[in-house]
């Protein structure tokens, strides 16, 4: 399995996937840092980790679905475009394993992107002289929540990108996902969990609320977050299983 994932990563050489991911993470974090810097300039007492984490989680709702769609489309479209499916399937590797290898490869890339995001946040906090020490637990929860949402979104995007040659649909879904992810906090709480893109901000370890005219940032209880992560992983597993079953039986 590790060799199959390595083969997928090898095929991505000189395809600038890493650069595309870094560019998007750069734009997102640039936005987050600009907004945080402005907020700190207005309210110096908000120079802490919680607002930065909340801002990043809510921006992930917009950027992460599109980033996932682009990465998955890139890794699946090269087989469609190069007409290499038959070549790939002639190897003595099961279709299911090829499907899993592509999934694993994208998940690995996005995990690295999340790690870069966390490291850049730590750098921003240090540069701006945040008084508290680095909140490893909160950052770890942000990483876990984002990755859990990524795993479900990748499963859906991969199903679409592999089943349909036309990548316009997959990217359109990614864009709609970004739209839903960004606006998810405005949805009624009863329908919000139905959208997998809403979990990027929904699993944020820091919640925002208004107390009078003052915006407050409160660390969420880990106990309420864990069942949501479990549910999301289960949904992701279902989508992954359905996609793998469908794509593995398609005629090439």
């Amino acid at each position: 399995m590790i060799r199959s994932i390595w083969l997928e990563c090898y095929k991505l050489r000189r395809r600038y996937v890493g650069m595309t991911v870094l560019l998007m993470i750069g734009v997102e974090m640039g936005w987050a840092f600009m907004a945080s810097s402005m907020s700190i300039a207005r309210n110096p007492d908000q120079a802490s980790w919680e607002p930065l984490i909340a801002m990043t989680a809510s921006l992930n709702g917009l950027f992460a679905p599109i980033l996932a769609a682009i990465c998955v489309s890139r890794i699946c479209d090269m087989e469609h475009k190069g007409n290499t499916w038959k070549l790939l399937l002639s190897m003595s590797v099961k279709r299911e394993r090829l499907y899993a290898a592509k999934y694993g490869c994208v998940a690995l890339i996005l995990l690295l992107a999340c790690l870069v995001q966390v490291l850049v946040m730590i750098g921003f906090g240090k540069v701006n002289g945040f008084e508290e020490s680095v909140p490893i637990m909160l950052l770890g929860r942000l990483l876990a929540g984002t990755m859990a949402a990524h795993l479900a979104v990748i499963a859906l995007q991969q199903w679409l990108s592999m089943a349909l040659h036309n990548q316009a649909f997959a990217l359109c879904l990614g864009m709609l996902g970004g739209f839903i992810g960004m606006a998810a906090d405005l949805f009624p709480s009863a329908i919000r969990p139905l959208f997998i893109w809403s979990y990027y901000s929904g699993l944020s370890p820091v919640a925002q609320s208004y107390a009078g005219n003052q915006l407050e940032f409160i660390a969420r209880d880990l106990g309420t977050e864990l069942p949501m992560i479990g549910l999301l992983l289960f949904i992701g597993l279902l989508i992954y299983g359905a996609g793998r079953w469908h794509v593995s039986r398609q005629e090439v």
Binding site: M24, Q167, M175, F179, A183
Partner: protein, 246 residues
């Protein structure tokens, strides 16, 4: 028949059975649905009638999703050429090289005009359903749509230049998305006239729905034309001088 007309006909032929219309319709529908929902729920705060509705439905559509939709359309228009040996076939076709680019730009222009029309129609329907009078439609509506479309053609020329150069479908879309956010930054920094993606924000008036002064309207049109000419010239020059990779 004029060569350009023949190439445009070929572009339309290639779009048959692509189901691209689903993508073209999905985004305006979702934008208007969510904008109208938000407007309806917050009518106590949003009291400027059609203008408030425009700010709600137009914000995400004009700011994020329309530019990305243009990027997807342009990537799709070049997708077929990048598969197999189709670039070689295109370049040996008995038509001027420039007409290949112009035909794609014209087709993108027609598709974006269709999206703008659908969006306007849905805006009017949504406004009427939320209780606004159709007789009080903003007089700036036509100007917003037209200037938005002009900016869409400018962005199309930029995206086509990228998509003709880059074989991947997703990378030009990603670059377009990055440019969208850069455009927002340029608009906030009051340098919107110097960046194509900010021209869409200015033209459609999604962040400031008041009408633009005549002089600024003319400036927006001239800058759009200049950008379109520059991107088109660069793309055609590259088509003429660089070898295609099939």
């Amino acid at each position: 028949m004029f060569p350009l007309k023949r190439v445009v006909a070929a572009e339309w032929l290639k779009l048959r059975h692509s189901h691209l219309w689903i993508v073209l319709l999905a985004l305006p529908i979702v934008s208007v649905l969510m904008g109208c929902g938000n407007f309806y729920m917050n009518q106590g705060v949003l009291q400027n009638g059609w203008y408030s509705l425009w700010s709600q439905v137009g914000l995400f559509y004009g700011e994020f999703f329309f530019p990305t939709l243009i990027a997807i359309c342009c990537a799709y228009l070049c997708r077929l050429e990048h598969s197999g040996k189709n670039w070689n076939m295109m370049m040996t076709a008995p038509v001027p090289v420039a007409s290949i680019f112009w035909a794609k730009l014209l087709t993108a222009g027609m598709l974006t005009a269709f999206v703008q029309l659908v969006f306007a129609l849905l805006y009017i329907i949504g406004g009427t359903m939320t209780g606004l009078s159709i007789f009080e439609l903003p007089e700036e509506l036509f100007g917003w749509l037209l200037r938005g479309w002009l900016a869409a053609v400018t962005i199309s020329s930029f995206q086509l230049a990228l998509s003709m150069r880059i074989r991947s479908f997703a990378v030009p879309v990603g670059i377009g998305l990055g440019a969208t956010f850069l455009g927002l930054g340029m608009y906030v920094a009051k340098a919107g006239l110097f960046f194509p993606h900010s021209l869409l924000t200015i033209g459609m008036g999604v962040l400031s729905p008041e009408s633009l002064p005549v002089q600024q309207q003319l400036t927006v049109v001239v800058v759009n034309l200049l950008y379109t000419a520059a991107f088109s010239a660069a793309a055609i020059y590259r088509l003429r001088t660089a070898d295609v990779s099939a």
